[in-house]
């Protein structure tokens, strides 16, 4: 019996459930929770049934070539689904835990402001989860990946009127985006490696992989390395680890399931999924193993000094994930899968019962107290032990390190451009852009040695605009326009590559333009209502008064960042496919623009609409709370 068709139900059911949940009244707890309950329950049942059929069919690896979204002679964008052992385990853990958490949250979230938002977001997350684990190629995986990133942002910032959840949400989102660079560049490089839209199924073909990689070993290394960056960011491995405990700002069940179990194991998933690709690159395997090992050791010490229950669980989980990385690197796929499932269940439960730790441990202390029982560093001489203690208390400076190597340089670069304002941006860049377009159609006027550099120069301009948008302190609309313009520059830059089909630009801009206009109008409206509280210098929390406008603007943000809600997403991939193999800088600049642009947009949204409400006509929490 052919069971492949069932796969699409695993996507359609959550999609349907999510869409339905969007249209339920916020006050109707019963219907919201029921929708989520039925959706996840159905999925769990479907999994059980499907699993039985799959076992009967002899654990056959399945591939469903869903549909081709776009095709031209050199390029094909297709949605492809895939099912094997890895998917099966992830599907089991995911559907089981999500179902339980939904059942749990039906009561736990009772009367909470944002009840609807919570269930919407969880279902959205679940949709992304299923798309990712069923994905049969990088393009499909990337769709799911993006959904996961956004829903994580929304869940961490669930308490959107407080400062810490919002700033942590932006931080986690930024680190996820850095991971996304890895996937984007890996996708770009694999276009060139395979000259086709490679499916994960075909990666299992040893001869094929071997043949390609042995002739292009650098590209193979590059792809693997990029995948490792993406996996490390998602699974909170070094140097990204410090985001995980900071993600636990939402209601406890959501932290339990996402950051305790599902979200954080996606790096492992990516590695397992691409294992056949890097299996025969010993350097890569050693690198993965070493990364896992170092992370496990560092996180082990950090976990030991944590005095808050959730951060302790977070770091303990990182230790295990580090070990799972080692297992994957060693090729113990089954062990890694079992370890993943056990760790996910354990941490979810530990987080859920974490409030009980007070009574349990105080009782324990009352009856079993021994002085100095928590001497953790007794194995070392005191000077060394004190030093390790302090270092661990500071989380080995990982948080500072992330800022130092990633965000501060970006900001600094952006601040070098502080001379840019609305006026000179328009007066200078628009004419230049028009000149650029003119030369695009009259390339014969340009000497060929210049022509070769034009794409890089233009994409560099795009990157500069995005950096400025990212570091802009005052003017939201300027930042917004800069991101829009960056997209145009990117399009122009790539269009100088010879085989370029102009319709590809249109596909790309088809989503950017309406989103740009929508967002600009939203900003304009907000500015008219709140002229005194309209800046990027701090958080304003306007969602308190303008929840609808905030939602509309969020949609515009998604459109403009090339989120898979419009064709721009496809266009992005298309654009990358036009970057030549040797145009590494072009790819790099574009990737940076893409990543930093996304962060800049989320930052505009967060600063204007989220955070402590600027008006004090109602109770407001302390900023430190």
């Amino acid at each position: 019996m052919d069971i492949v068709w069932i796969i699409q139900l695993f996507i359609l059911i959550p999609l349907f459930g999510f869409l339905v949940s969007l249209f339920i009244k916020p006050g109707s707890e019963k219907w919201l929770s029921r929708t989520a309950y039925i959706t996840t329950g159905l999925n769990l049942l479907l999994f059980i049934g499907f699993f039985v059929l799959w076992v009967i069919s002899g654990f056959e690896t399945l591939n469903l070539k869903e549909f081709v979204v776009y095709r031209s002679e050199s390029y094909e964008f297709l949605i492809d689904f895939y099912f094997d052992k890895v998917t099966a385990v992830y599907l089991f853990v995911g559907s089981f835990l999500t179902f339980l958490i939904i059942a749990y949250s039906r009561y736990y979230l009772h009367r909470e402001v944002g009840y609807k938002r919570f269930f919407n977001t969880v279902l959205f997350f679940y949709l992304g989860y299923n798309i990712t684990i069923f994905s049969g190629n990088f393009e499909t995986l990337f769709i799911g990946w993006e959904v996961l990133g956004l829903s994580s942002f929304l869940l961490i910032a669930f308490y959107r009127n407080r400062y810490l959840p919002v700033s942590n949400a932006v931080k986690v989102f930024s680190i996820y985006r850095i991971g996304d660079v890895g996937i984007l560049l890996a996708m770009w490089a694999s276009h060139h490696l395979w000259h086709e839209n490679i499916t994960f199924l075909r990666l299992n073909n040893y001869d094929l992989v071997h043949e390609h990689i042995s002739s292009h070993s650098e590209i193979g290394m590059f792809i693997s390395f990029m995948l490792l960056i993406a996996a490390a960011a998602k699974s909170a491995q070094l140097p990204f680890s410090s985001w995980l405990p900071r993600a636990m700002e939402g209601p406890t069940p959501s932290s339990a399931i996402f950051y305790g179990s599902l979200s954080v194991h996606f790096g492992v998933f990516l590695l397992l999924r691409t294992f056949p690709f890097w299996e025969h690159q010993p350097v890569v395997r050693i690198l993965i193993g070493l990364l896992g090992f170092t992370t496990a050791v560092v996180a082990f010490f950090i976990a030991r000094v944590q005095s808050t229950v959730k951060s302790q669980i977070a770091y303990s989980s990182i230790v295990q994930i580090g070990i799972i990385f080692m297992e994957v690197a060693a090729g113990f796929e089954n062990l890694a899968l079992i370890h993943f499932a056990g760790n996910a269940f354990l941490r979810t439960y530990q987080l859920l019962v974490s409030p009980s730790v007070v009574s349990y441990l105080i009782r324990d202390q009352f009856y079993n107290y021994k002085e100095n029982s928590q001497k953790g560093g007794a194995y070392f001489p005191s000077r060394l032990s004190n030093s390790i203690y302090l270092l661990s208390l500071k989380e080995w400076n990982l948080d500072r390190l992330m800022n130092k190597i990633a965000f501060t340089p970006l900001k600094k670069a952006g601040h070098k451009l502080d001379f840019l304002n609305m006026k000179n941006v328009f007066l200078f860049f628009i004419p230049v852009y028009l000149v650029g377009i003119y030369f695009h159609f009259h390339q014969e006027y340009i000497p060929s040695y210049i022509l070769n550099y034009i794409p890089e120069v233009f994409s560099f301009i795009a990157m500069i605009m995005v950096l400025k948008a990212f570091s802009e302190r005052k003017l939201p609309r300027l930042a917004w326009l800069l991101v829009i313009m960056a997209h145009f520059w990117i399009t122009l830059a790539v269009s100088f590559n010879e085989h370029f089909d102009f319709s590809h630009s249109l596909i790309y801009l088809s989503g950017i333009i309406p989103a740009g206009i929508l967002g600009y109008v939203s900003l304009k409206m907000l500015k008219n209502h709140e002229p005194d509280h309209f800046s990027l210098n701090g958080y304003y929390g306007h969602v308190y008064e303008y929840p609808r406008l905030s939602f509309v603007f969020l949609l515009a943000v998604l459109g403009l960042m090339g989120f898979p809600v419009s064709f721009s997403f496809l266009g992005e991939d298309l654009i990358f496919s036009h970057i030549h193999e040797n145009q590494f800088f072009l790819a790099f600049f574009n990737a940076i623009s893409f990543i930093v642009g996304g962060i800049a947009l989320i930052r505009i949204y967060a600063r204007l609409f989220l955070g402590p409400h600027v008006k004090n006509n109602h109770e407001n929490p302390y900023r430190s709370a």
Binding site: Y104, R106, Y107, Y108, H110, R111, R162, L164, P165, R246, M248, E249, G250, P251, S255, R304, S307, T308, K310, I313, V319, Q320, I323, L335, G342, N343, A344, L346, T348, Y349, L352, S354, S356, V358, S359, L361, I362, D364, Q365, F366, Y367, Y369, Q374, G376, R383, N386, S387, Y389, L390, S392, L393, K615, N616, E619, N620, P621, Y622, R623, S624, A625
Partner: protein, 839 residues
């Protein structure tokens, strides 16, 4: 440059360190670590001012929201919970206006700028405004982590190295004795290590001019009041931690200033000027006068109208038209002592309904026996009496059979390397099963807090003083006979039970059970310092059954018949179960009676659970009481239930008088009930001791609910759903947040923020005299933090206490409706129910 040499002397003259620290500690939140949750007036620092003035100042100085919002009041008015005639009356009383309709219009439709502005934080905000530097972000996470790790009571596996010498000394040791310090810059390091460094010196570097020291410290400490308050509480009450820590607010501030200097140095390379040098415009001082604005009057009127819309009904309903003391003369079938707790109000009603000859009494739930309790194998003493008392006695448990189950989910091995590697692949799957069971079939587990775990009912207690037994830590083990007699006599006199003792008398303490509840201690008996009252109930019963004690009592005129037997018991207010602790085997006659009474209690508990269930929206209250009861019990063991019970929510009254005064009224579990017989207390001494305890305890509970409800963000703990446990001492949001004192939202959504009305049955002149005998007690009433009224037992005239006088009060409410079937009422609404007369 910063090294401006100003004279140390002048700074001392303007800045008095001790005074400022004292002032800070006074205004900071005073909530103890989680294991002892004791309700108190959140704005205790303002208690020397009249209520509304205090609120106005607290709001202007600290930015607290202190009333419901205007729209909430207006909604209450439109939904009929604020009564129109009462509102009119309040307008006249407060404004003394000739044109009440103008005010009424303002109240109902006036538009005001309701934004809260505060003086706190303005000065320190200059770091952001002038220096463009987010100092908080640079300092707070590490500061909180250090102090949290230092105070941690057992979460971290690797404890803070060397906690014994004290916070600052420990930090110095750590800084000296490690390869890299915690500080980045040399200057900060030097300042920390130099033991000569004074707070003034650090303030001079950071702030500059001494006159700005105090404002700066207030700004600084109130930017994270949670941790500062916790440090101050631990400093002043070392017993609040089992694993002792030596820390003071001074040391904490000292370290924070060092961190600030370090952060500023590394940002500006030591070329920054102290903050007072960059002041551009005058900074509004914190302690300025706060003139009363029209909006303040509006709030005052609304609040008073809201309160009196309820109190007026109560005062109308309480006095009895026809005196029917006949039933009193009948011999009671049994008697039961309960805690004054508002949660016992309805249970007593059901017991009396089921057996009209039963008599119930209310008295603070430690039953007048104050002592420390040490369970077998316990390493510490637990205070089980009101927090302000300092008992000299210790009761020890022996022969306990109790053993605590372990739960591997809390074991440290899950946080390790190899151990956790094995655990997560094996035990991890058991977690999945456990989770499944816990969600679909919740049951008791080791993670829960059970009221019955406080004491082993089969264990022995060292109640009797043994001269051979040495005292422990200055505490006498057990009570001598005359000491027992004093306590029993004191209690019986206080509640006015001096004759007509029934064969069986139940002494019912109370406690609560819950799971996943960080604030569990706040659910137990407040009169037992947040512990269940089971040991006290047992100890009191033992004393009252004691042959020698009874002899002494008889000499003092209280004759307890041979046949009377006291039985200790514990009411679990979450699960609505009663556990009994008879001290010895019952006689046949008693056993028969006991069976009968047990059945009555059982039935009353079913009804009580059903009555409570009407507030739990997700529980169906329509079913039969016993079935609803089962559902209610599940709440105490369900991981996913943030509201195992609603605790003191809706409390509004404290009635001090005989049960005859209240027995005919349905008070909707809103009243503390303290038994008191004016006839046996002509000099008012018994009343004095009741009020001395009841005003702070009930008033503290009431005001903590009030403030946590009106400003759940700054004065309450916010929603509990994201809470993270910090060091077992407090909760915070997320990992880097400040501690959140106060009550979480889930405890008080249904609470009506009204002040407590204390109603005493006694002659007004006696009450007036009694309340003035103790200054601390008088402050509560004089400044109207607790309202007071008196019912003259002879004339049945109602008086209210106002401006130092007892004024006769005429009720606005004309009639109190009657109700026949309370059970049906329970199924009809989840809202507050007005005062009703029971038939």
């Amino acid at each position: 440059m910063f090294t401006k040499v100003s004279t140390q002397e002048s700074s001392i003259a303007i800045f008095n360190k001790a005074e400022t620290l004292h002032k800070l500690a006074h205004f900071l939140p005073a909530q103890s670590p989680l294991k002892d949750f004791i309700h108190h007036n959140t704005l205790h620092a303002f208690q020397d001012l009249p209520f509304h003035e205090a609120l106005r100042k607290a709001s202007a100085w600290f930015g607290y929201k202190v009333y419901l919002s205007l729209s909430e009041y207006r909604n209450l008015y439109h939904s009929g919970q604020i009564h129109d005639p009462i509102l009119d009356k309040c307008i006249l009383e407060i404004t003394r206006t000739d044109a009440p309709e103008v005010w009424k219009k303002k109240l109902l439709y006036g538009e005001y700028d309701i934004s809260l502005s505060s003086c706190i934080g303005l000065f320190r905000n200059l770091w952001k405004e002038q220096y463009k530097f987010n100092l908080d972000k640079a300092v707070f996470p590490f500061l909180f982590r250090v102090v949290g790790s230092y105070l941690d009571q057992g979460i971290s596996i690797w404890q803070f190295p060397e906690t014994t010498p004290g916070f600052l000394a420990s930090l110095r040791n750590l800084e000296k004795n490690s390869l890299w310090g915690m500080l980045k810059g040399e200057r900060a390091k030097k300042l920390l290590l130099d033991e000569e460094t004074t707070l003034e010196k650090l303030l001079e570097i950071v702030v500059g001019k001494p006159e700005y020291f105090e404002p700066y410290l207030f700004d600084q400490q109130f930017s994270h009041p949670g941790w500062s308050g916790m440090v101050s509480v631990i400093e002043h009450n070392t017993k609040s931690l089992l694993d002792k820590r030596d820390i003071s607010l001074h040391d904490f501030i000292f370290f924070e200033l060092i961190l600030e200097i370090d952060a500023l140095d590394s940002k500006f390379n030591a070329t920054w000027a102290p903050l007072s040098q960059v002041i551009e415009k005058q900074i509004q001082p914190i302690w300025g006068e706060v003139p009363e604005k029209e909006l303040d009057v509006i709030y005052k009127i609304w609040q008073q109208a809201y309160e009196w819309s309820y109190f007026d009904q109560v005062l109308k309903g309480l006095p009895r038209k026809s005196k029917s003391d006949t039933e009193e003369n009948q011999m009671p079938s049994f008697q039961a002592f309960f805690c004054i707790d508002d949660r016992e109000c309805s249970l007593r009603r059901y017991v009396e309904q089921l057996d009209s000859d039963a008599r119930t009494y209310g008295t603070p739930g430690f039953f007048n026996v104050e002592f420390y309790f040490q369970p077998e194998h316990g390493k510490f003493h637990t205070k089980v009496c009101p927090a302000p008392l300092n008992p000299k006695y210790l009761i020890k448990e022996t022969d306990s059979q109790k053993a605590f189950e372990k739960d591997a989910h809390f074991t440290k091995h899950t946080h390790g390397f190899l151990g956790a590697w094995i655990i997560s692949q094996t035990f991890g799957f058991w977690s999945a099963v456990r989770l499944f069971i816990n969600i679909f079939k919740p049951s008791k587990s080791p993670a829960m807090v059970s009221s019955s775990a406080h004491m082993d009912k089969l264990g022995k207690l060292s109640i009797e003083y043994n001269p051979n037994c040495e005292s422990e830590e200055g505490l006498q083990v057990g009570f001598k006979t005359d000491e027992m007699a004093d306590r029993v006599e004191g209690l019986l006199k206080s509640i006015g039970l001096l004759k007509d003792f029934a064969p069986l008398i139940y002494v019912v303490g109370h406690g609560a059970s819950s799971i996943n509840n960080t604030h569990y201690a706040g659910y137990d008996c407040g009169a037992c310092s947040g512990r269940p009252g089971s040991v006290n109930a047992r100890v009191f019963s033992y004393m009252a059954n004691h042959r020698e004690v009874r002899k002494i009592l008889a000499e003092r005129g209280i004759v307890i018949p041979e046949n009377t037997f006291f039985i200790g018991a514990l009411h679990d207010t979450t699960r609505d179960e009663i556990d009994y602790f008879p001290e010895k085997d019952l006689t046949v006659e008693h056993a028969v009676l006991f069976q009968k009474h047990r059945a009555i209690f059982e039935k009353a508990l079913h009804s009580n659970a059903k009555e409570r269930s009407r507030r739990f929206i997700l529980t169906d209250s329509h079913a039969e009481a016993a079935k609803v009861h089962e559902k209610v019990k599940l709440r105490s063991v369900s991981l996913f239930e943030p509201r195992p019970e609603l605790n003191h929510a809706t409390n509004a009254l404290c009635i001090v008088g005989r049960r005859e005064l209240t027995r005919h009224l349905f008070l909707d579990r809103r009243s503390f009930l303290n038994s008191y017989d004016y006839r046996t207390d002509t000099d008012g001494n018994a009343l004095l001791s009741i009020l001395r305890a009841a005003a702070p305890v009930c008033g503290g509970i009431n005001l903590e609910y009030y403030f946590s409800r009106v400003d759940n963000q700054k004065l309450g703990a916010g929603t509990k759903l994201p809470h993270n446990v910090m060091g077992l001492i407090g909760v915070a949001n997320g990992m880097d947040g400040d501690l959140r004192p106060g009550l979480p939202l889930q405890m008080l959504e249904v609470h009506d923020p009204v002040r407590l009305m204390m109603i005493v049955e006694q002659k007004p002149e006696v009450v007036l005299d009694v309340i003035q005998r103790n200054a601390a007690t008088y402050e509560w009433f004089k400044n109207e933090w607790v309202l007071l009224s008196v019912i003259d037992p002879v004339s049945q005239q109602v008086y209210i206490f106002k401006q130092g006088k007892m004024m006769p009060y005429e009720c606005v409410t004309s009639e109190i409706p009657t109700v026949q079937h309370v059970e049906l009422l329970m199924e009809s609404t989840a809202q507050n129910i007005p005062v009703l007369q029971l038939i």
